[in-house]
């Protein structure tokens, strides 16, 4: 688990290349590329243009998951949020890279 702050020179293409090369250099099978998410892909309203990037969008999630995975009303337990990505796939993930491109107005970091 590593964090790098303010990677302003990183765009989606470079981020994809970094993800793929991390996997390749640590010996993943040749047939394993970048995941295309069954839901979070370019077919969604806020899904971006690239199927090999899962756009993680709070607004999109509210729209399509409503009370399915997310309960925004009087939440008293968040333990249901724990997971490892896409383990329902026969070939799941090795490395995942998440880069935030829009942050809420919290006053925290600004």
């Amino acid at each position: 688990m590593v964090f790098f702050r303010k990677q302003d020179d990183l765009d989606n293409e470079l981020q994809k290349e970094l993800a793929q090369r991390l996997g390749e250099l640590s010996g993943k099978p040749e047939t394993s590329k970048l995941h295309i998410h069954p839901v979070s892909n370019s077919g969604r309203r806020l899904g971006g243009k690239d199927d090999e990037i899962s756009v993680i969008s709070s607004e999109q999630a509210k729209e399509i998951y409503k009370n399915r995975f997310l309960n925004f009303n009087k939440k008293q337990s968040a333990k249901g949020g724990w997971h490892s990505d896409i383990t329902f796939e026969p070939i799941p993930s090795d490395y995942a890279l998440l880069r935030l491109t829009e942050l809420p107005e919290t006053g925290g970091g600004k």
Binding site: R5, I36, G48, V55, S57, A96, L97, R99, L103
Partner: protein, 178 residues
């Protein structure tokens, strides 16, 4: 605010007693996410059914059988892989035993903050990299009402999960080094 939490699957495995480790070493689980099919139906769209980055990841039946304990091929260490909301059941146990076990794995995460790390997103283009084979994560919806949050995630696909009976736990392997 707007934090994400990660937790160590290696350490979760090391919190189990030896007899429990040996018991779970032998088991498999059904990993599935029918919630995505339901969300697609509710919102009138189709799941992406062409190959999803590997020829094996195809179709709309989002289900796979993997071991409960997984060996990470890079470190050679074992971790508890059968954790979280994409895990349906432990195949060899009764429904009751399976449910209690899966709930208990999550309980071991939430009750042990010393196997977690919490990261605060502060700037646009802050980047996190993790290994999904041995690490879990959870979003924190502490920003609800404060505006939208968007991230770009690239997910590399690895190998088919396996359990190597000769592999070791992290603490076991490290203690042999010292």
């Amino acid at each position: 605010m707007t934090d994400t939490l990660w937790a160590s699957g290696y350490e979760l495995y090391d919190r189990l007693s030896k007899p429990y480790q040996e018991f779970f070493d032998k088991l498999t689980a059904t990993y599935a996410q029918p919630g995505f099919n339901a969300a697609a139906k509710d919102n009138n769209f189709e799941l992406y059914d062409k190959p999803r980055g590997a020829p094996e990841n195809i179709g709309t039946d989002l289900e796979a059988i993997h071991p409960v304990i997984r060996t990470n091929p890079v470190t050679g260490w074992k971790s508890v892989f059968g954790v979280g909301h994409h895990v349906q059941k432990i195949n060899e146990l009764t429904e009751e035993e399976s449910k209690r076990t899966l709930d208990w794995f999550v309980q071991l995460i939430v009750e042990n903050h010393d196997l977690q790390v919490r990261h605060r997103w502060q700037n646009v283009n802050d980047l996190a990299i993790w290994d999904n084979r041995s690490v879990y994560h959870s979003a924190t919806f502490d920003y609800d009402g404060l505006g939208a949050r968007t991230g770009q995630r690239a997910v590399s696909l690895g190998e088919r999960p396996y359990f190597d009976p000769k592999s070791k736990s992290r603490r076991e392997a490290l203690s042999e080094l010292s």
